[in-house]
Amino acid sequence: MEIFETVFVRNSLVVAFAVVGLTIWISYFLADKLTKGRIHGSAIAIALGLLAAYFGGKATGGSTGVADITLLGGIGLMGGGMMRDFAIVATAFGVKLSELKKAGLAGIISIFAGVIVSFIVGAVVAVLYGYTDPVSVTTIGAGAVTYIVGPVTGSALGADSDIIALSVAAGLIKSILVMIGTPMIAKTIGLDNPQSAMVFGGLMGTTSGVAAGLAATDPKLVPYGAMTATFYTGVGCLLGPSILFFIVNALL
């Protein structure tokens, strides 16, 4: 058992490649046999990943899902920010400049609309749940933007740590729902071309959610959605502790 652990820990990234490869193979097999290809294999793989993260978190009490299990530590590196960003940028290879220009204006509008709309929704829910102080309402609203904007805004405004945790949770729920929900809703909202993918990325904003949601819908759309989504968190961090807080402060 000790030898087993030594080898797995010493080669953690390689173990991650093998485990993820196996997961994807199983997922594509299930997608083909059980759903006759109606649900994309990568959607199943992502759902399995989230499920595993839940049980990993429950078992270890850690905050990085499966990666807290000693034998699967490499998943943390493979699925971490560095590798994610590296692979996202690589998807831009072969993208046509003309497609980007076509959706430029709508893309920019979608980023601001997305941040403001998600913030309002989050803030209204906070008020409905009985929060009345502007700092808490702003922080929870910012959490509905993304799980990064929430804590950045909360710490800038000096929110309580339980409110910050709540804002992170709201952002995580959003991210997970975008991962799972996108392939289901794609047809209804016309998400089948580069332009709508850019608008989608700008509106949703959660890079992980958009990245996984589009991958499970149509991998060709990934670079367009990811491009706008990566500006979203920055815009959110810009507006949250400033203009949006001032507005909330004036209203409450």
């Binding site: 989230l50 996202i88 076509k102 989050g122 949770a169 729920i173 909202i189 509106l203 920055g234």
Partner: protein, 126 residues
């Protein structure tokens, strides 16, 4: 050489991240503003440029394509390391706020996509 493509990809990411970080400092924000998006723009420009053909054609290009193809496996690993437990232990407020934000944002996709479409159709019409 495959590594040329990988190096170009890396250079794009690092340059984009640096600019994103500088933008964040300039705007007084504790975040990287669009670093990845800017890096993607660099890669698009590089892959459409004639001068950098040697870095994106043939074997060099496969170095970039490999990482592009590794994207979905990396996203699966990313899903497996999310703090899913915390998301569900945040209580009903967090769930309601998250779900409502997603539903409203989904509904806005067709509305704002129309802005782009009406723009292009007006450009095309004489």
């Amino acid at each position: 050489m495959i590594v040329y493509g990988v190096a170009l990809l890396s250079a794009c990411l690092i340059l984009g991240m640096l600019i994103g970080e500088v933008l964040g400092v300039a705007l007084g924000v504790e975040a990287n503003v669009g670093g990845v998006g800017i890096a993607m723009l660099f890669l698009v420009l590089a892959s459409n440029s004639d001068k950098l053909k040697a870095l994106v054609d043939g074997a060099s290009g496969t170095g970039i394509q490999f990482w592009s193809a590794m994207y979905i496996p990396i996203v699966v690993a990313m899903a497996a390391r999310q703090n899913v437990v915390a998301a569900f232990e945040g209580g009903m407020l967090a769930v309601v706020a998250g779900v409502a934000a997603v539903i409203v944002s989904f509904a806005l996709v067709p509305v704002i996509s129309k802005i782009g479409n009406s723009d292009t159709s007006s450009e095309e019409s004489p």
